[in-house]
Amino acid sequence: MKNKTLLAAALFLFAAVLPLIVTEFWVHVLTEILILGLFAASFNMIFGYMGQLSFGHAAYYGVGAYTTGLLMVKANVPLLVCLPLSMLSAGLCAAVLGYFCVKLRGIYFAILTMAFGQLVYYIIFQWYSFTGGDNGLQGIVPPEFLGKAANPYYFFTLIVVAIGMTALWIISESPFGYTMRAIRDNAERTEFIGINVQRYMHLNFIIAAVFAGLAGALWGPFNRSVAPDLTNWQHSGMPVFMTVMGGPFSFLGPLVGSTIYTLLMAFVTSFTEYWPLVSGVIIILVVLLMPGGFLGLLNEKFPFLMQKLSGAKETDEQGRQEP
């Protein structure tokens, strides 16, 4: 536990110092890493912890982005008020759609989440009078106190993402979080110890969507606009790629994946437009060569280091000695 708190503090400090060293372009990239990292971490609550593949998680990210975008553009609502409202709207959306998804498992779960994601996409895409259709929403500017430079919004994002990640971390280590692992490992047994598996999966689906909504809410002011593409299935694939790349079985895996993916994308697109080709090759290599993702590979090659960092052996403190 101590190690993990230290690691988190070190990461936060590192992230806080970075923009003072790098150029503005890279500050934008860093902001993107954080937002997408939170998005991927929220996705991993369903994938890594609950053991189901959601291929429509961008719907909740997009609902969060549009909630903030619409409130800011049409009603001049302050960003700080928009963030919780985006979480709420994404959560409500997941409460309705997730109700049906959690009745299914495996490939059927994946397909239904994807179908609902596309449904959200088409609604946003078609509803010109409200969402601006395929034009999206323009002119979403960060609040005045953050100014126009890249750094202030980066710091704002860092704080919000840190709060979001901490909340997800606490949930993942709670009895509820362990119930998710139990459902992932053996849903049937979990029913026989007296847990209403479907209801718990539904709750977790909503929690994951709430934090996807928070990540989405940060995107609009960062990009100065939102577009319906944020909700479609290609965008749902991003947290999948990132999580698989970083390692779905570690809490920080999705963030690591987001870092690798976003850095590579920024790097590669600076001299070729064939980023999808490159990312495709990378995905194939990751899946073939390191099925546990980047952190899984580290764990395999340097188990000692990873144990220290992730506290994998932390079960020691559960009873071996009183604190």
């Binding site: 009895p175 509820f176 362990y178 029913e191 026989f192 007296g194 052996k313």
Partner: protein, 252 residues
Amino acid sequence: MNDADATLLEISGLSKSFGKYSVLADVNYRLRKGEIAAIIGPNGAGKTTFFNLITGYHRVDSGTVRFQGRDITNWPRHRIARAGISRAFQVSNIYPRLTTYENVRQAILAQEKKTLDIITRAGGLAKQDTLELLKLTGLLSNRDTVAGILSQGDKKKLELALALAGKPEMLLLDEPTAGMSSEETHETMEMVKRLNAQIGLTILFTEHDISVIFGYARKLSVLYQGTLIAEGTPEEVRKNEEAQRCYLGEEV
């Protein structure tokens, strides 16, 4: 005590078929509180299906299951578990990627209704109860082992621990000692017997091991091709001709 004679489980007219295959036909069964009873019969007789119907694993075609006076027929599995029926599976059904400790803690937290808590660190909860149950089931030395790599016998012990964690009124054990050494078998059954004596836990088990059946059960029921053909004390069943012909004759 009056209570001790009370009927805990009452099953009437229970039937189940899969497609055109009838697995259980019109089974009537009563179990008193505090009993240790066994269901015996050859493979395919319907013993596991019988358990599956009681615990809600399969839907009942017809008939009723009453537990503590309540009709629990076709209740969802988690509600039946909450009502006080725990079950250990024939093939161990555990959480392979959690440690032994985490496995047991999970079942205890479920019993204590703490699993909706999203704020408290699970690591600090239910320590005492978890350690006690690990000790009781002889798993203490394996507490930090990932359950998926436990030996077959230890998995069965963990299976039993998960069932016990639910603090059940009635414990269903489906071949509890399959895969265990004879020493482990003895230890496990002695523990079950102790629990029965100490806290009055009602136990219903299936078993193939004749020494376990006649050593521990106080009531035997013989299931053969989906129907109950004999019932009584071990002595009565041993003398029952039909039971001998259908099942015991093969092995005694």
